[in-house]
């Protein structure tokens, strides 16, 4: 294996044109192996874990992934810290036990540079579950992970990577790995162990495959902006944190703080945060508890009112003097967070935000039989502002030095037309910017006509930024020619040279002009005056608007054509009743089957039945459910699915009501080596809330509880309806469902 690594690196270096990174939205699959190196207090021997990630590439620089790793380790309790000369021999009497670990979570990767060798940073948070052998109960902890690595391009869309990461979590070795009989035999007791934070360095390597997206050099899309276009983010807030009763914290704590970060695109922010507990009795007082961490903020649209989703994690630091429930002193906590909210545009660069977050923390275990460590959710309600000041223009690429002169006589700074002024990529980018500028101008006119001055002002500001960007991009070749005042002259074998500088006219020009028309034609023209420039700009704008109108019409026609093709395909299969109405076109097929607009099922568009299993957690059950299709919101971005689920087997019966919302993801492309496989599936991701009850709750599971759902699935038309398959994680991987179902439209 040692020979392969340098070969791969060499291959990456010799193939600089290959790019594993892709722009736009892509899918990533990444199997990997990890060498887990635990610190002494982790109580586990070093070994390997296997798994990988699956996720989305949001442009060249950001990747969001679901992570899963399974490991098998032996306990090593004799080296735990804190034992004195009396306890140390007792610790060595404890049995060695095999422990299976499951690590589930969300990981974020930020690629620092483009190219065949990509350094990157990564951070993750999620659930770490310990499953010791000998029928001990599973313990859970929330973990944080951060690190960095290098990714080497092996071929287009394939890469190998190696990374180092630090895994941090809190746990109690006594409650996680030992039972009462073990403690009694060693003359120990549960109180001899307590929850501690452990940090472990891990090394991970694997392969990464990118599907979808674009490998072209032109940066485009919401998530592919150059770092110079990123904007700083400042989000102050106040809120109320309602702790779960299972934790030692007070039932409610007022919080305040701020988020600082970067808007990597119109809908994607990466933020670090600092929270501080506030004194509820005073306006300005604080209490000795703080939290810090980072999150990923995703908004569903770049609009005046838009919902958002945040995913992150951090560390809750309980300072000296803080009092929890019943006067107790709570322990520090590692936590993960997932939240939703709404953002309202007040002014340019200023938004009002209100949201709710689930904060997931570990309740310390007391002993394995009665109370192993478990993860519980608390709720943070927040309201605040969001500032988005200007772009990070200082990161704009600096003008490059001109290349070697190609003409016999080249005067840098005075020959803008002597050679091509821009690369094809730059020209394509300029065209794109010009089209966007024209589209914005049309939108401003429409907003003013509609009397929406707020939207018009916002669009105008956006257009100004775009124009600045256009000028900056256009100035690159110009700046290239003015950086150095240098003249390169060939040394003639015979002849004469005349060089003059400064204002005034050349006596040679006056002498040659009447007798040399060719020279007159090649002489530089006079500089255009300001009115001429304005007229030119007006003509250009008019032309751009015409181009934009043509383009929009083309897009509309293409969209209509695509819809017609889809419907014709359905008709050819004899599946669906179709009715289309557009401004200038009406197509009606099988009008006898057209649904009534005033149906008694107003609001519901369809119904689905599905079945599945609840795996990777207790209780292991089969489930069946029925799901309504309640249509879409936000222009089709959010689809609402109320559902009812009945689960059985595993010694209990479960009842579950959910309200889920999903948003479509880009179409899943066929893997490069499996082009013949036509998946034709439409993936989606979702979030939901619900109630889950058990008639005979298994050990460690509440009889009735609220649940948070994370959904990842795909669907495709099949027969008269739609076939779908999905994975649903409830309450942060406490329940994991695999479901398959079929949906029929009314």
């Amino acid at each position: 294996m040692n020979r392969w690594i340098p070969r791969m690196i060499l291959l990456a270096l010799l193939a600089p044109s290959a790019r594993a990174q892709v722009g736009g939205v892509s899918y990533t699959f990444s199997p990997s192996v990890e060498y887990s190196r635990f610190e002494k207090n982790a109580g586990l021997k070093d070994s390997y874990a296997f798994g990988g990630t699956m996720g989305l590439g949001l442009g060249r620089y950001v990747e969001l992934k679901v992570l899963g790793l399974i490991g098998q380790y032996d306990t090593r309790l004799g080296q735990l810290g804190g034992a004195d000369s009396t306890l140390a021999p007792r610790l060595r009497q404890l049995p060695t036990r095999s422990v299976r670990t499951e690590r589930w979570g969300l990981a974020l990767q930020v690629n620092l540079l483009p190219g065949p060798i990509v350094p990157y940073l990564t951070a993750a948070t999620g659930l770490l579950r310990f499953r010791p052998e000998d029928d001990l109960r599973a313990s859970e902890s929330v973990y944080l992970m951060g690190g960095g690595g290098l990714m080497f391009t092996v071929a287009s869309r394939y890469a190998i990577f190696a990374q180092v990461e630090n895994l941090a979590y809190r746990y109690n070795p006594g409650a996680a790995f030992l039972r009462g009989e073990d403690l009694n035999r060693a003359n120990l007791q549960p109180a001899n162990f307590r929850q501690v934070l452990v940090t472990n360095w891990m090394g991970r390597a694997g392969m990464r495959l990118y599907l979808g997206g674009t490998t072209s050099e032109v940066e485009e899309g919401l998530f592919s902006q150059h770092p110079a276009n990123w904007r700083p983010v400042i989000d102050p807030f106040v809120g109320q944190l309602r702790f779960n009763r299972a934790l030692d914290f007070p039932s409610s704590q007022r919080m305040g703080g701020f988020y600082l970060g970067l808007a990597l695109g119109p809908t994607l922010n990466l933020r670090g945060f600092y929270w501080r507990a506030l004194d509820s009795g005073r306006l300005t007082g604080t209490e000795p508890m703080e939290a810090y961490g980072a999150d990923l903020y995703l908004s569903f649209a770049d609009a005046p009112v838009t919902p958002y989703l945040s995913l992150g994690g951090g560390y809750l630091n309980v300072l000296s003097g803080y009092r929890g429930r019943g006067g107790s002193t709570p322990d520090d906590q590692v936590f993960a967070s997932a939240g939703v909210g709404v953002s309202v545009l007040l002014l340019e660069a200023l938004q009002l935000q209100a949201g709710v977050q689930g904060i997931f923390m570990t309740r310390d275990g007391i002993d394995n039989r009665t109370a192993p460590a478990q993860v519980y959710g608390s709720t943070l309600y927040t309201v605040g502002f969001s500032f988005r000041p200007g772009r990070l223009s200082f990161l704009q690429p600096r003008p490059r030095r001109a290349s070697e002169p190609s003409a016999p006589l080249l005067t840098e700074g005075e020959t803008p037309t002597a050679e091509p002024t821009a690369s094809p990529e730059l020209e394509a980018r300029q065209r794109l910017l010009a089209l966007r500028e024209a589209a914005l101008t049309a939108e401003i006119a429409r907003a003013e006509a509609a009397g929406d001055s707020l939207l018009a002002a916002r669009l105008r500001a956006e257009r100004e930024r775009l124009r600045t960007e256009m000028l900056t991009a256009a100035s690159v070749p110009a700046a290239r020619t003015t950086t150095r005042q240098m003249i390169t002259l060939p040394a003639p074998e015979q002849g004469e040279l005349y060089v003059r500088y400064g204002p005034g006219s050349s006596p040679l020009v006056a002498a040659q002009q009447p007798t040399s028309p060719a020279a007159a034609a090649s002489a530089p023209s006079a500089t255009p005056t300001s009115p001429e420039l304005q007229a030119l700009e007006q003509r250009l704008l008019a032309r751009l608007e015409a181009i934009e109108r043509d383009r929009q019409e083309l897009v509309r026609l293409e969209s209509r054509l695509a819809r017609l093709e889809t419907l014709l395909q359905q008709i050819s299969r004899g599946e669906t009743t179709v009715r289309i109405q557009a401004a200038d076109t009406t197509v009606t097929v099988r009008p006898e089957a057209t649904p009534s607009e005033g149906s008694f099922l107003q609001g519901f568009r369809g119904v689905a039945v599905f079945g599945g299993v609840n795996a990777l957690g207790a209780p292991r059950q089969l489930l069946i459910g029925v799901r309504g299709d309640y249509g879409t919101w936000l222009g089709g971005r959010l689809h609402l699915w109320p559902e009812a689920v009945l689960s059985f087997a595993g010694g209990t019966s479960g009842y579950n009501l959910n309200l889920n919302a999903t948003t479509p993801l880009p179409a899943l492309p066929a893997p490069p080596l499996l082009n013949r496989l036509d998946l034709d599936a439409e993936p989606y991701i979702g979030f939901g809330l619900g109630l889950l009850a058990f008639s005979n709750p298994p050990r460690g599971v509440a009889g009735i509880q609220t649940v948070w759902n994370l959904i990842l699935g795909a669907e495709r038309a099949y027969g008269p309806g739609v076939l779908f398959a999905e994975y649903m994680s409830m309450n942060f991987f406490s329940f994991n469902r695999l479901q398959i179902g079929y949906r029929l439209a009314f």
């Binding site: 109580g43 009396t86 620092l112 540079l113 350094p119 951060g146 162990f193 770092p227």
Partner: protein, 176 residues
């Protein structure tokens, strides 16, 4: 497009945060309980040695009734320091204590400051656990007004020195 400076800056920031997070904390998962050190401890050394060689050491133990001077640590995490100066009444100082694998920290309840001063002690009082089981030691640098402690030191101003303590766990008598 080579924003290397930005890449290096972000890398350095995150690396420093990672090192900070891995290095700033060290809690121990195993804890010694109060009951593991509970018992009655007798003073074998209790002496203040001034830095100035010209001033004689003050042996506190010589001024106390040995059989009525001891430290009791309970399994519930409380302590009672019993003492009796020669020709004086028997007195008690109470408080709580914490223990870990290296030391025992005694914190007296408020109001005992004068009593502690008479014994040349302060609160909190940290006793180190030695390799020998049941033996506690302390070596405390402090300034002591010896003139207030004994008439032997009349006219001596407060002096710097080291207070040395040694306590040994009293073994229970074997059952008959």
């Amino acid at each position: 497009m080579k924003p290397r400076s930005y890449a290096l800056g972000v890398s350095a920031l995150l690396l420093s945060l990672a090192l900070l997070s891995s290095g700033c904390q060290k809690e121990n998962p195993v804890q010694v309980l109060p009951e593991d050190v509970a018992g009655t401890y007798d003073f074998t050394h209790f002496i203040f040695i001034p830095d100035a060689a010209a001033i004689a050491p003050a042996n506190v133990l010589d001024t106390l009734v040995a059989e009525n001077t001891n430290l009791r640590l309970t399994a519930s995490g409380q302590f009672v320091l019993s003492y009796q100066f020669i020709n004086g009444p028997e007195s008690l100082i109470a408080g709580t204590f914490e223990v870990n694998e290296r030391r025992i920290t005694l914190r007296a309840y408020p109001g005992a400051e004068a009593q502690l001063t008479s014994l040349l002690l302060d609160s909190p009082l940290v006793l180190n656990r030695t390799d020998v089981e049941g033996v506690l030691e302390a070596s405390i640098r402090k300034t002591v007004d010896l003139a207030a402690f004994s008439n032997r030191y009349r006219g001596v101003p407060p002096v710097q020195g080291t207070l040395r303590l040694r306590l040994v766990l009293r073994l229970n008598a074997p059952a008959p």
